[in-house]
């Protein structure tokens, strides 16, 4: 009983359930995935350790490299757009006075709708024959035939990026809005008295104070985007001719329908360095005072 009075012992005890959950549901699957990538396991059959053979094989696989390019492009473009539009939306919402709660609730809808449902909606929106966008543009006399949204490699890439951006903006906007509301109004009053323009207020007051939350939000946004699966799987299955295959979708395709569990695990494992890099950039960024104040490293 005396131990229960010991803060350290009690703290460790309270942490145990969380640690157990993390070990069981995060560490174990991750370690198992990495182990599988070093074996030749196939569905329904145990594998043997083969070292880096799967990675060597992937090194010479054009489809794998295309999926790496697609993933990086998809993540970079979608993240930049989500940040720009999300910040813009947060700044606008921060000024809204009427129906504030209602508008914020509405804005969250894309984030609330199950991903597969929104993916199916976009599948129709981008359909080669039934696209509402094409229909409107034709009715307006701007085009004469349907836009080939998902049949052309670059159109398809931008189309799935658009779907991801639509879905991801609310997360960025609401998080940044929360950050904006922590900035004391007195700073803006002081800046106004000093004759600061709107841009200067944003650059020297809003942006520096928002930087820590931007770092956190964008880290999560990049992680979510990099590991996206559902949107691609429902809209294109990685097509046309693998132009939208992400590492996550290719990993699934090879591991489950293809039966090559180890190779699928190797593709998933190959995602880890990119994800770790994204986390480290954010982590070290948050440590830097200059970053926190919106400055550079120099």
């Amino acid at each position: 009983m005396k131990r229960l009075d010991d803060r350290n012992w009690l703290g460790a005890l309270f942490m145990l359930p969380a640690a157990a959950i993390l070990l069981l549901f995060l560490t174990y699957p991750l370690a198992l995935g990495v182990w599988l990538s070093l074996t030749d396991q196939k569905i329904g059959r145990p594998g043997e350790f083969v070292g880096l053979e799967n990675f060597r094989s992937l090194w010479g696989d054009a489809v794998f490299w295309l999926s790496v390019f697609n993933t990086l492009f998809y993540t970079a473009m979608a993240s930049v757009l989500k940040f720009a539009l999300g910040l813009w939306l947060a700044l606008l919402l921060n000024r809204v006075r009427l129906f504030r709660s209602f508008i914020r609730a509405i804005m969250l809808l894309p984030f609330i709708v199950p991903t597969v449902l929104s993916a199916i909606a976009f599948w129709w929106i981008f359909d080669a024959q039934f696209s509402i966008v094409s229909w409107v543009l034709i009715k307006l006399g701007l085009i004469t035939e349907n836009v080939n949204f998902l049949g052309d490699p670059w159109n398809a890439r931008w189309s799935v990026i658009a779907a991801n951006v639509w879905r991801g903006i609310p997360f960025v906007a609401i998080s940044l809005l929360a950050g904006l509301q922590t900035i004391p109004p007195s700073l803006y009053e002081a800046a106004t008295l000093d004759g600061a323009s709107r841009w200067q207020m944003f650059r020297y007051v809003t942006y520096p104070l928002l930087t820590p939350i931007i770092a956190v939000v964008m880290t999560f946004s990049v992680l979510f985007t990099f590991t996206d699966f559902q949107l691609i799987y429902a809209i294109t299955r990685g097509g046309p001719v693998n132009a939208t295959h992400l590492m996550a979708t290719l990993s699934f395709q090879r591991a489950i329908p293809g039966g090559q569990l180890a190779e699928g695990a190797a593709i998933a494992t190959a995602m880890i360095p990119f994800l770790v890099a994204a986390v480290l950039i954010s982590f070290f960024g948050l440590q830097r005072r200059k970053w926190q104040q919106g400055g550079g490293d120099a």
Binding site: R45, G239, V241, N242
Partner: protein
């Protein structure tokens, strides 16, 4: 409480052999295996979601009949057919899940050690109903033993608006490549183009591109499992695809499995390759326009290439019992019951032949002649080849098809994204990764 006990069920299944018309036609002498469902048995079945409504309704009625006859409750869950494969894979890997899974293509050969040997049931049904078509053994026999039972296949045929064909100047459907191309060109000229799936669509993408390849005498691998896709025959197939593609409705590179159905039923394409589901949807619609379309639809078999024989790939359905089941006898009894004529024939009729039989005797099911538009689907199992033709089935063939190697090659070449030779070389490299050359 059922009025028939397990012993009665045994008599029922064994006795059914004598009375079955189809079996008489097949002239078979078959002894039903003694299958006594375990005491307290219950079954969980996972199957693919219906493509046509009649299928699922009759499947459930037959299942209820089985429960009445044996007292074995059966829970049937349905998933989209492409989602069944991953679930079956997980069940195999973790040795837990539904007792029976109805899946597709070569799943059974990916984990044959995990599946219950059903040779006794397969031998009985084969003997009773005129034998299994050859392709069934390719898909489901491992080391000379049946590791799953065939259910049939979703046959594919060319779905054609007959009035459009006539308007394009064709009274009969062409039977060779040259005529087929001419028809497609004429349809395009008339503003009623054809459309064939070139996206990463497991069903429609694979079926027509494999036909294209095989009908030109080309194949991905030969009898020795050597990769032979980089060949003059493949080159000819891809050149043909390039010309065909010019006639397609725009957007086929993005098409997934449902797209050609939607486009056809909307009147945007007049010719595509599909199961009987397009006709079924039009025929059973209450919309007068759809009824009119149904009357105009005709089905034709794919043209035959220089080999002089049909070279089709159809969506093969298997029925797997997993070794982890606690009720192997009940599971075998269920599948046997469902394949018997009293259940199977009405099931085929309810789905107007969406599933083509794996047993020869069911060729005489009246559904195939009730409407001449059903007939082209009758021989889908008889004439189909296996994915991975003409090599052995297994992980390499499954991986090659799951990775859309053939679909992507045809799409790259047909659309002009890659020169024909480069598309072939890329496919060759990709296939070699699976066949570990």
């Amino acid at each position: 409480m059922s009025s028939i006990n397990r012993r009665d069920f045994l008599k029922l299944t064994a006795g059914a052999a004598a009375g079955a018309t189809v079996a008489r036609e097949a002239g078979a002498q078959a002894n039903a295996p003694k299958l006594v469902p375990e005491k307290g048995a219950s079954l969980r079945v996972l199957r693919w979601k219906r493509f046509v409504a009649g299928d699922e309704e009759m499947w459930m009625k037959n299942t209820e009949k089985f429960t009445q006859a044996t007292g074995v409750p059966v829970r049937v869950d349905s998933e989209s057919w492409e989602d069944v494969r991953p679930k079956a894979a997980v069940a195999a890997n973790v040795s837990s899940g539904p007792d029976i899974i109805l899946s597709t293509f070569d799943d059974a050969l990916l984990y044959p050690e995990k599946l219950l040997d059903v040779t006794d049931v397969a031998d009985y049904l084969g003997a009773k109903y005129g034998g299994w078509y050859d392709v069934c053994e390719k898909y489901l026999k491992h080391n000379g033993r049946w590791v799953a039972l065939p259910l049939g296949c979703a046959g594919n045929a060319l779905v054609m608006r007959d009035s459009h064909m006539k308007a394009a100047g064709f009274d009969t459907f062409p039977k060779d490549h040259a005529g087929f191309l001419k028809l497609c060109q004429a349809l395009k000229a008339k503003g009623t183009p054809p459309g064939f799936t070139l996206g990463n669509a497991t069903g429609d993408g694979n079926t027509w591109t494999h036909w294209l390849l095989w009908s030109h005498g080309a194949k991905v691998i030969d009898d020795n499992n050597d990769v032979v896709v980089n060949s003059p025959q493949t080159e000819a197939a891809l050149e043909h695809a390039k010309e065909l593609y010019q006639t397609f409705v725009p957007g086929t590179l993005s098409w997934l499995d449902p797209n050609n159905n939607k486009a056809f039923l909307d009147g945007q394409v007049s010719l595509t390759l599909n199961g009987i589901s397009i006709f079924y949807a039009a025929k059973n619609s209450t919309d007068p326009k759809m009824k009119e379309m149904a009357a105009d639809i005709q089905h034709y078999n794919m043209p035959i290439g220089p080999g002089g024989r049909p070279t089709e790939l159809n969506l093969f359905f298997n029925q797997m019992i997993f070794k982890y089941t606690k009720f192997p006898q009940a599971a075998k009894a269920y599948l046997t019951f469902m394949m018997e004529q009293d259940q199977y024939a009405p099931w085929q009729q309810a789905s107007i032949g969406y599933v083509t039989q794996p047993l020869r005797a069911y060729e005489s099911n009246p559904i195939w002649t009730a409407d001449p538009r059903h007939t082209p689907y009758r021989d889908a199992m008889k004439v189909m080849l296996w994915n991975g033709y003409s090599g052995k089935m297994g992980y390499a063939s499954a991986g090659t098809m799951a990775d859309f190697v053939v679909v992507n090659m045809v799409a790259e070449a047909a659309s002009g994204q890659r020169p024909v030779k480069e598309a072939m070389e890329r496919a060759e490299k990709r296939a070699m990764r699976y066949y570990k050359v």
